[in-house]
């Protein structure tokens, strides 16, 4: 569908009020935990207190006998589905991992792993029932560090896991799931040509997405079928996962996505949803499961902690001759760390002749990692950008100039062989260099840092329906939960196509029975792919409306054009017919063949990668080690900002999550392998008083593969902050830091070691 990207629009690119705004500022919007059904039971999950243990037996008899308990389940109540890496239709996950993560089958693999669940008539009875469940564990040695987990003799999580992509074929079980690689040119030759080669090692800690809404669902099952209401980044994917885990037909389950209170990748996977369905099937009553914050931290989400090694060689003029990267990521209890994305993206802002990257996806006794905004890339980019900053310092080159010297441009081919179309990285760097922030004076104990980032983005399957009412207003149904204002963007594009008022389009997130399969709200794919489906559906509706006008006028269908919200005769020779608006055509629809509608089912391709660069000033208190972020400016190629308000919001939010990642967020484990900070008091995300205004500079280099130039914007903003902030702290103190987070104790220690 690519066509000429226009620049002047009535609704696209404007600051339209979001269609779900009133419900969200008045408390009317229904999130995952906000549904109450008659006869509804409370579901609760019993979780492992051990990092690694064999389940010898579970005795649920006392819990089942407690008055008010209506169902109790363990893994024995679920089918033991076979290992199957996929793909399963459009879904690439291994559903057995989801199943075993939902409820431990043989072993518990992390502190917080679910082992049993109850449904009871009240929360307090459910809690009492959990206490009555007796689990006999044989505690096993555990391993939480991925490098330790790769050593001979390390405790093995999965006896049936053999490493894929290893140099030597082996039949021995390993914690390493796979070793993805990427290579371009000849790095040995490239390093030999360099005047300077730097090699550094970095570590980052596991961090949680930290969405404010805990996972929540209500399941209502009968022999006729299952209704599931839940907070999710993809209700179609949840439907497939529940069907597979429960061995049901997909169409037996209808999933309605609630409003979603944040996800950032953490709500791509099912946790309690299949459990709630099974409990409801057994109790024959609706069951609600809402996670506590403790459960959210212990059993969902975090992204991988990482070990990253980066080696870069450059000539004296700043030209990079070779780059090599090795990443080792925690997968948690089941395979699936975003190592592939790290390989794909870590050097991709740059036009490199010689590059080589490989990475290890390593199972450890931690919760199964989930995607977190540009999954896999921030940790690797922290290493790459830090080394580039150090190289620039060593060579006496301005860090922006160093990047300009090596910047990817249209035609650059990255390590995976992707040849870039129009890409705005050079524009970004030029904008940063020219920005007043870049040359503003700094005071004592203050430092400035910069870093860049890249993310590839996703396309994929999306569906949409445009139904025109007889008054000419439009219901737009699409299948992607609105996590940050996407209804506004969809409505703007459809209003633009149809030539009607933005307020005349009511966007609805359809349940899994009312629109075709739509993939996750993830990878910044929705405005791109689902937006494309909405545009196609609108164009199909226009075709129907135009044909009706032809019928009314008694002319042939190709003698009608659609312009400015009206069907018009294609030329003077067609006859003197007064243009008809959508409302006029819709009013006559019953007499011309039935309702006017258009729908589209697509697999979108042609997504454009996004590059960005961040500029930050900090001040370090040498007595406390506290870092104040003084000023922050984000530069990003956003393709086309359909809703500039929400594009800015993505850039600002990503930057602040990155600041938290850089300065204080981390999963802290004890010797026993148990998480010590599963709450917002001890796992401290940035609060309003921690950060300044986040200035944004939108660079628009439209993606030619999308009718409105959309590129996707939500991922890239979390890639540069870690290196930028740490670079700024380092500049303030004259000390380099290679380990995240750069928290006050670490800063004080470094100041002391430097003799300060």
């Amino acid at each position: 569908m690519p066509d000429e990207v226009k620049t002047e629009y009535k609704w696209v690119g404007k600051r339209n009020p979001r269609p779900d705004g009133v419900d969200k500022v008045t408390g009317r919007a229904k999130y995952g935990a906000d549904l109450y059904l008659p006869g509804m039971l409370t579901g609760k999950i019993l979780r492992s207190p051990h990092a690694h243990a064999r389940i010898k037996s579970i005795d649920t008899s006392a819990a089942a006998a407690l008055s008010g308990v209506k169902a109790v389940v363990t893994s024995a109540d679920f089918p033991d589905i076979p290992k199957s890496p996929g793909p399963h239709g459009p879904i690439i996950f291994d559903f057995r991992d989801f199943s075993w993560n939902m409820m431990a089958f043989d072993k518990v693999l992390y502190d917080g792993h679910a082992v049993a669940a109850v449904a009871a008539t009240s929360e307090s009875i459910a809690r009492q029932a959990l206490k009555l469940i007796k689990v006999d564990y044989e505690v096993l040695p555990h391993v939480i560090d991925p490098v330790a987990a790769m050593q001979p003799g390390a405790p093995i999580l999965h006896e049936d896991q053999i490493t894929e992509g290893a140099d030597e074929k082996t039949a021995k079980p390993s914690n390493v799931y796979r070793i993805p690689r990427g290579e371009k040119g000849d790095v040995e030759k490239g390093f030999a040509e360099a005047d300077i080669v730097l090699e550094r090692e970095f570590t980052t800690k596991a961090v949680h997405q930290g969405y404010i809404e805990p996972h929540a669902c209500v399941a209502d099952a009968s022999d006729d079928g299952v209704e599931l209401f839940c907070t999710t980044q993809g209700h179609f994917v949840f439907r497939s996962a529940c069907a597979k885990i429960l061995d049901m037909d997909i169409s037996r389950i209808r999933v309605t996505a609630s409003e979603i209170g944040g996800g950032f990748g953490g709500k791509n996977n099912v946790y309690g949803e299949p459990v709630a369905i099974r409990l409801s099937q057994l109790a024959r009553r609706p069951v609600k499961i809402v996670m506590s914050r403790d459960e959210v931290f212990r059993a969902t989400g975090p992204t991988s902690g990482a070990h990253v090694r980066v080696k870069i060689g450059a000539r004296n003029d700043g030209t990079i001759t070779a780059a090599e990267g090795e990443v080792t990521y925690q997968a948690g209890a089941f395979k699936g760390a975003s190592v592939g994305a790290a390989v794909n993206c870590m050097f991709s802002p740059y036009d490199l002749e010689n590059a080589k990257v490989w990475g290890y996806d390593v199972c450890v006794n931690r919760p199964k990692v989930a995607a977190y905004r540009a999954p896999g890339v921030p940790m690797a980019a922290f290493g790459v950008e830090s080394v580039i900053n150090e190289l620039a310092d060593e060579l006496g080159i301005d860090p922006v100039e160093m990047r300009l010297k090596n910047a990817a441009k249209e035609g650059t081919q990255n390590i995976m062989g992707l040849k870039y179309g129009p890409i705005g990285f050079i524009d970004i760097l030029e904008a940063m260099k020219a920005h007043p922030h870049y040359s503003a004076p700094l005071g004592e104990n203050q430092g400035r840092g910069i870093a860049a980032g890249y993310w590839l983005h996703a396309g994929g399957i999306s569906c949409a329906s445009v139904n025109v009412s007889d008054d000419g207003t439009v219901t737009l149904i699409e299948g992607n939960p609105d996590i940050g204002g996407s209804r506004a963007s969809m409505a703007a594009m459809v209003a633009e196509e149809l030539g009607i008022d933005y307020a005349s389009v009511r966007p609805i997130i359809g349940d899994t029975s009312s629109v075709g399969f739509s993939h996750l709200t993830a990878g910044s794919r929705v405005t791109f792919a689902t937006g494309m489906a909405c545009v196609q559906a609108a164009r199909n509706a226009i075709k129907v409306a135009s044909d009706r006008a032809a019928k009314i006028w008694g002319v042939s269908e190709d003698e009608v054009v659609w312009e400015d919200g009206h069907a018009r005769p294609a030329g003077a020779n067609v006859g003197d017919h007064k243009p008809m608006s959508l409302a006029e055509i819709a009013a006559k629809a019953p007499m011309t063949g039935g309702p006017i509608a258009g729908h589209a089912e697509i697999n979108a391709t042609g997504q454009g990668p996004a590059t960005g660069a961040h500029l930050v000033d900090v001040e370090v208190d040498r007595k406390s080690g506290y870092v104040t972020v003084l000023r922050y400016t984000v530069f990003q190629d956003v393709g086309r900002a359909i809703s500039p308000d929400y594009v800015e919001g993505q850039l600002q939010g990503g930057a602040v999550q990155g600041i938290g990642w850089a300065l204080n967020e981390e999963y802290i484990y004890g010797e026993d392998g148990c998480l010590q900070n599963p709450g917002f008091l001890d796992y401290r995300v940035p609060v309003a008083s921690d950060v300044p205004m986040i200035d944004v500079c939108l660079i628009e280099v439209p993606n030619p593969n999308h009718p409105y130039g959309v590129r996707g914007v939500g991922e890239t903003p979390i890639v540069p902050p870690q290196a930028a902030v740490v670079n700024a702290v380092g500049n303030a103190l004259g000390i380099r830091f290679n380990d995240l987070p750069v928290s006050p104790p670490k800063i004080l220690k470094a100041i002391k070691e430097a003799g300060g």
Binding site: A33, Y211, A688
Partner: protein
Amino acid sequence: MAKHHVTTTINGDETEFLCQTEQTLLDVLRDELHLTGTKEGCGTGDCGACTVTIDGRLVCSCLVLGVEAEGHAIETIEGMADGDTLHPLQRNFIDMAALQCGICTPGVLVAAKNLLERNPDPSETEVRYWLAGNLCRCTGYDKIVRAVMDTAAKMRGA
């Protein structure tokens, strides 16, 4: 155990409810009265999603027992608009895109309204510290702080 009978005022309406001893005010608002605009993000007073006022004082309703509401006046997000007329903060949060997912929004709005009632002309720093108990993971706080300050300016001018 017998439930407690509590008489209170919620958003101006005299309201009676029965609750168990251990139920928090948040549990009562949501599970008993189905006023689900008040959200639970943590249950430990760290996130502010459950912010309401009791006799004009800002509290995390997850840290207050239901029985403690006896004889007091509770205001929640559901009482913020005047019928169909949004409070200026609500209007401005929509107009200035001060929400993304919207889960923290009710708590932020209740807290911000309370701030402007005490201090009609807060500085950026005062807004940031006042809202430091309300976690938002989506926005980076920029548009929230701007919307609160802009609303304060408009309300002073009105």
